[in-house]
């Protein structure tokens, strides 16, 4: 057996050294195939090893068919075929080319028998073939399959492959696979302990189960090493789990902030709650949808930049509707915040139903451009691109808004009206104009939030409803008229929510957060960052 393995390894080495000898290989594969049914199991095992030695691509399918017991020899002519059974019909295929030969009767061909010894030889041969494959993906897949089975027969093949492998990622995969195989083989204890150390560096559920299995090993040293490694892995997982929660929390927080920040400034300046805010978010999402539909029909090439086109449009659409709401309704309800709340609720119903009538009640498909899809990994943390972009987008919007409020004349006037409306009016600020501007700006940001949300959530007429209560909570928690309040409120609530979720479940976590806010309001009735001074009592 060992001799044959050496022979096989030598054959591989010869062929790799010889480079491409295609015709010769092809010929030898065909002759070897013809030898398959002949002789005892030992001799046929040698043939299998030799087939692996050819390094021929077609050999993989051939050996797999053999292992499955699908290979048969025709009784007349001795041709070897692969038979696929479907019900009672047997269809024969050429085992090498895969070409269909035709239907045969079940008695026309006799099965090429395999026993366990031969199966092992086949598995080893398959491992060799794929581990030495010139295709990198295939080598990785082979390593993964060895890792999964932990087949000790593959150790030699892996050693051979490791000698020639240069790709670092594949090398690591081979080492891990070899470690998994070593744990199952009759090897010295020290080698097994080293194998555990090798595996502990890698973190996936499969490795975890391998190491967990090793904790029950007969050898105390191995079991101890495995238990130790298990502890370390668990700790690392807990740490990464926390990081993951923070990331999810940041992601949720960024969405909440986008949805709430517009609400916060209009609440701050005018003291009114805009119940239609969620619907303005929804309008932004539908603007994105409409832009993408137009691009699909008229300029498919622009799809990658569709969001860049949609963002300013969504800002304008939602902003215009916002100014319309302010000029048409809120202006007349000045000083009556509760009535404004009811009127804007009515507007939200109308907007919702309008969108429902135009686009229908079902969810609309908004596509992700390539740069928004996919994910990458840092350690055990998976970060999806769309979440990352939305976080960055939210931060950019926040910074821009801060800049507008702190560095522009309009921002100065807004802050003045927020702090003391009548004093600001006395100083010559046209508070009505400031109201419309603030409301429009808040609404426009809601539109931008809609563009972002269209990438991660269902775009339906109810989109706004699902965020409105949460955005209120952010505003009430953070304090009105204060951008930093909304910022801190959104991210705190996002992270707290995501940390509670694993323990309490998503719904209960949300309920707990709401109860927490209701209690928090008792302590600080004006939020985390309350305005100070006379404005408070008005």
């Amino acid at each position: 057996m060992l001799l044959r393995f050496l022979l096989a390894a030598a054959t591989i080495a010869v062929f790799i050294a010889a480079g491409s000898l295609l015709p010769a290989r092809a010929a030898s594969l065909e002759t070897l195939l013809a030898e398959l049914p002949e002789g005892g199991y030992d001799e046929r095992a040698a043939v299998v090893t030799a087939i692996a030695g050819t390094g021929d691509d077609r050999a993989v399918a051939l050996l797999e068919a053999l292992a499955e017991g699908d290979l048969r020899q025709m009784k007349d002519g001795g041709q070897i075929v692969r038979v696929v059974r479907e019900g009672r019909t047997h269809t024969a295929f050429d085992p090498l080319t895969g070409a269909e030969i035709g239907e045969i009767s079940s008695r026309a061909a006799s099965k090429i028998r395999v026993n366990n010894k031969l199966r092992r030889a086949i598995a080893a041969a398959l491992g060799q073939l794929t581990l030495a494959s010139p295709d990198r993906a295939r080598r990785l897949a082979a390593a993964a399959s060895v890792l999964k089975t932990g087949d000790p027969e593959q150790i030699e093949a892996l050693d051979a492959a490791l000698e020639t492998e240069t790709d670092p990622e594949v090398r690591t995969a081979f080492m891990d696979a070899r470690a998994a195989a070593v744990l199952n083989a009759a090897r010295p204890t020290a080698e097994k302990v080293a194998a555990i150390a090798q595996l502990a560096g890698r973190n996936d559920p499969q490795v975890l189960s391998i190491i967990t299995a090793a904790t029950t090993s007969d050898e105390p040293a191995v079991a101890a090493a495995a238990a130790d490694a298990l502890d370390r892995i668990e700790q690392a997982r807990a740490a990464w789990g926390a990081v993951q929660n923070v990331w999810y929390g940041l992601s949720l927080g960024s969405v909440l902030m986008l949805a709430a920040i517009g609400l916060a400034i209009s609440f701050g300046v005018m003291g009114v709650i805009n119940m239609a805010h969620g619907e303005l978010v929804m309008l932004g999402a539908y603007t994105t949808f409409a832009v993408q539909e137009l691009i699909r029909s008229f300029a498919p090439g622009l799809f990658e930049v569709s969001l860049l086109i949609a963002a300013p449009l969504a800002f304008l659409v939602a902003g215009a509707v916002g100014v319309g709401i302010e000029r048409g309704v809120c202006r007349y309800l000045h000083g009556r915040p509760l009535e404004t709340l009811l009127a804007t609720w009515g507007i939200s119903l109308i907007l919702q139903q309008t969108v429902r009538s135009i686009f229908g009640p079902t969810n609309q498909q908004v596509g992700n451009p390539d740069w928004m899809s996919g994910a990458f990994e840092i350690g055990q943390l998976t970060i999806t691109w769309n979440r990352l972009w939305i976080l960055l987008f939210a931060l950019a919007v926040f910074a821009l808004l801060l800049l507008i409020l702190k560095r522009t004349p309009a921002g100065l006037q807004m802050r003045a009206v927020t702090q003391n409306r009548r004093m600001a009016e006395a100083m010559g600020i046209r508070s009505g104009w400031v109201d419309a501007l603030t409301f429009g700006l808040g609404a426009g940001i809601a539109g931008l939030a809609g563009v972002a949300l269209s990438q991660i959530d269902n775009v339906s007429p109810n989109l706004g409803q699902s965020y409105i209560v949460d955005s209120f909570m952010v505003v009430v928690f953070g304090g009105v008229g204060n951008l930093w309040g909304a910022f801190a409120g959104a991210f705190t609530l996002g992270i707290v929510n995501k940390f509670l979720e694993p323990y309490a479940g998503a719904v209960l976590a949300k309920v707990l957060v709401l109860v927490f806010i209701i209690l928090f309001i008792q302590r600080r009735p004006r939020g985390l960052f309350a305005l100070k001074g006379r404005a408070v009592e008005s």
Partner: protein
């Protein structure tokens, strides 16, 4: 008539009308022959009964919003809690007649493979206990919530938002199966109440009369509160809370009293609502429902108790008719009602056609009582 502030002409008219309705509607259903011009189908009796419970609910909101300036966007929660308390009793009354035939556990618990009745279901097999809970659960929640909120002087928009958060949180909680209140499906498949079959016409008529009686009593109670000295203080809190406080009134106490009372009225309304519609589910907690209650009050006339009753019946009547004719248009109409009423009818239908002045609050004089149908 001025001698009796509790029962002015309007109130007498309203109560007389209510008594008339409580006699005529059941008669039209039970005595009149089907097919005759006077016959009222059974579903209509249940529908009108539902309107009466809505009117009681609107009355409870008007009591705090119209007279005390507390805009609760979570009053649907008290209504639903009262409804759940009654629903739990009705579930227990099903007994072994459920699909799974378990004598103690309601069907959904058998379905969830629960072995015994959770502690918060104990006692609900007794009607008197359920009735007590209809008052105590909403009242208790309102007391705790109000005590926390009013003591910290959470007012205005902030209060509205956290009441909304309260009902939203309850909705999410009740949607969970683990809560033990039937989760998504709520409580339904009721058989009878106090041994009377809920599907029979006589029981429906009885529930209608009970609803009318509850509305009448609720009205008298609200009237009693608003015409009393305490009612005057409430109005002053509504118009200038800080001033009332500086005059030495314990504003928190008055607010807490009226808020708790209002929650209990809402609970009773919910308890009468559930047997008439035959189901209670977590959807009743949705914030949208609670805001809708407020608009009933606004339509009828805020700060006028009869306005709330009228508004609830008008808006719900319109809803029933419009959703029957053109379902898509109802939401538009509701939205427009919100906008137009707040813009053009700040005193509501009743206030707009009356001669009273908004600021005076308290006892109303000479308002033309629009008969409530």
């Amino acid at each position: 008539m001025k001698a009796d502030p509790l029962l002015d002409l309007k109130s007498k008219l309203f109560l007389a009308l209510l008594v008339a309705a409580a006699i005529v509607v059941p008669m039209a259903n039970l005595v009149a022959a089907p097919g005759s011009d006077f016959y009222l189908p059974s579903f209509a009796v249940a529908l009108f009964g539902k309107y009466l419970t809505y009117a009681l609910l609107a009355l409870s909101v008007d009591l705090i919003w119209g007279y005390c300036g507390i805009l609760s966007l979570g009053h649907g929660a008290f209504f639903a809690l009262g409804g759940y308390a009654m629903g739990m009793h009705l579930m227990r009354e099903i007994g072994p007649r459920g699909v799974y035939g378990d004598p103690v556990l309601p069907d959904f618990m058998v379905f969830l493979d629960w072995k015994e009745l959770p502690w918060f279901w104990w006692g609900f097999d007794q009607f008197w206990f359920a009735c007590l809970m209809v008052l105590l659960v909403p009242g208790g929640l309102a007391f705790v919530f109000g005590w926390l909120a009013f003591r910290s002087r959470v007012t205005g928009v902030y209060l509205s938002i956290i009441t909304q958060a309260m009902t939203y949180a309850l909705m999410l909680a009740f949607f969970r199966n683990d809560m033990g209140f039937g989760g998504n499906n709520g409580l339904t498949d009721f058989r009878d109440v106090l041994g009377f079959d809920l599907r029979s016409d006589a029981t429906r008529a009885g529930l209608f009369v009970a609803s009318a009686a509850a509305l009448g009593l609720g009205y008298l109670l609200a009237r009693r509160v608003t015409t009393s000295r305490a009612g005057k203080v409430l109005v002053s809190v509504r118009d200038a809370e800080a001033r009332a406080r500086f005059l030495g009134y314990r504003v928190e106490g008055y607010k807490l009293m009226v808020f708790t009372l209002s929650a209990m009225m809402a609970g009773v309304a919910g308890a009468l609502y559930v047997p008439q519609v035959g189901i209670i589910n977590p959807g009743e907690f949705s914030p949208a429902n609670s805001i809708e209650i407020v608009i009933w009050v606004a339509v009828g006339g805020r700060g006028l108790l009869l306005g709330a009753v009228l508004g609830a019946i008008l808006v719900n009547g319109a809803k029933t008719l419009l959703t029957g004719w053109v379902p898509e248009i109802w939401i538009f109409v509701l939205g427009l009602i919100f906008v137009l009423v707040t813009l053009f009818l700040p005193k509501g239908v009743l206030g707009a056609f009356g001669t009273l002045s908004w600021r005076s609050g308290g006892a109303r004089r000479g308002a033309s009582a629009q008969p409530a149908e």
